[in-house]
């Protein structure tokens, strides 16, 4: 299951969906908004998605994980919109009988999501500038965003 949501991600809500009497292991990864990136003070950030393709690519990744690892279930949730420091941006939860498969699948999903799912992140810095991460393109606060 892969979901894009604008609601805050509550770990316990998704954990309860993973409950299973056969599951001996649960591995969870949460990506959270840090107050600092590349040496710059980050105040908040905004996630934007190309929703149709992001959903398709996200589901493909979760399906590939279910096939490639001995796991029972896999959920990946990505938050959209404006997020503050400490907010959870992405949540991945995996259940399996034995723990190694859960860890491997959890890492696989977050690695693949970061590479292939069309989601972008705009950082808002302490000095008023903004920048699209990975695009080498910080804009000054007063600058023309169309340049």
């Amino acid at each position: 299951m892969f979901i894009l949501t604008i609601e805050p991600i509550i770990s316990s809500v998704y954990q309860s969906k993973l409950d299973s009497p056969e599951a001996g292991a649960l591995a969870i990864f949460e990506g959270r908004v840090r107050n600092c990136n590349d040496g710059k003070v980050v105040q908040s950030l905004e996630y934007e998605a190309y929703t149709e393709l992001a959903t398709i690519e996200g589901e493909k990744i979760v399906t590939r994980a279910m096939e490639a690892f001995e796991i029972l279930n896999a959920i990946c949730i990505h938050r959209m919109g404006h997020l503050n420091i400490r907010d959870t941006a992405v949540w991945v939860g995996i259940t399996s009988r034995h723990r190694h498969a859960a860890f491997s699948a959890c890492q696989f999903i977050i690695d693949e999501v970061k590479l292939h799912v069309p989601i972008w992140k705009k950082e808002y810095y302490g000095n008023g500038d903004t920048g699209w991460v990975n695009c080498n393109c910080t804009h000054a606060h007063s600058g023309n965003e169309n340049q």
Binding site: G31, Y47, E48, A49, Y50, E52, L53, A54, I56, E57, H78, A89, V90, I110, V113, K114, L115, H116, V117, P118, I119, W120, K121, K122, W132, V133, N134, C135, C137, H139, E145, N146, Q147
Partner: protein, 80 residues
């Protein structure tokens, strides 16, 4: 001359100043089409830094465009 729908996200949306437009083009491939738009709108990223999706599917840059295709140029992603 065909009609193609373009959706913009993130940096490209900021640089274009809109999120969607319909464009008439004679470009044969996705790459030709991007280069046409890059010139017109002064997009900062070359096609080498981007990927292209046509009708919600990642495609090669040399894919031919068909009338009414929905084209999205995907700048480096940063989910997670």
């Amino acid at each position: 001359m065909i009609n193609v729908n373009v959706e913009y996200f993130a940096l490209l949306k900021d640089q274009r100043g809109c999120s969607e437009e319909s464009v008439k083009t004679e470009a044969k491939t996705a790459q030709d089409f991007y280069q046409e738009l890059q010139l017109r709108h002064k997009f900062s990223l070359s096609h080498n830094s981007l990927r292209v999706a046509i009708n919600h599917e990642y495609k090669d840059w040399n894919t031919a465009l068909s009338p009414n295709d929905t084209v999205v140029f995907i700048s480096p992603v940063a989910g997670g």
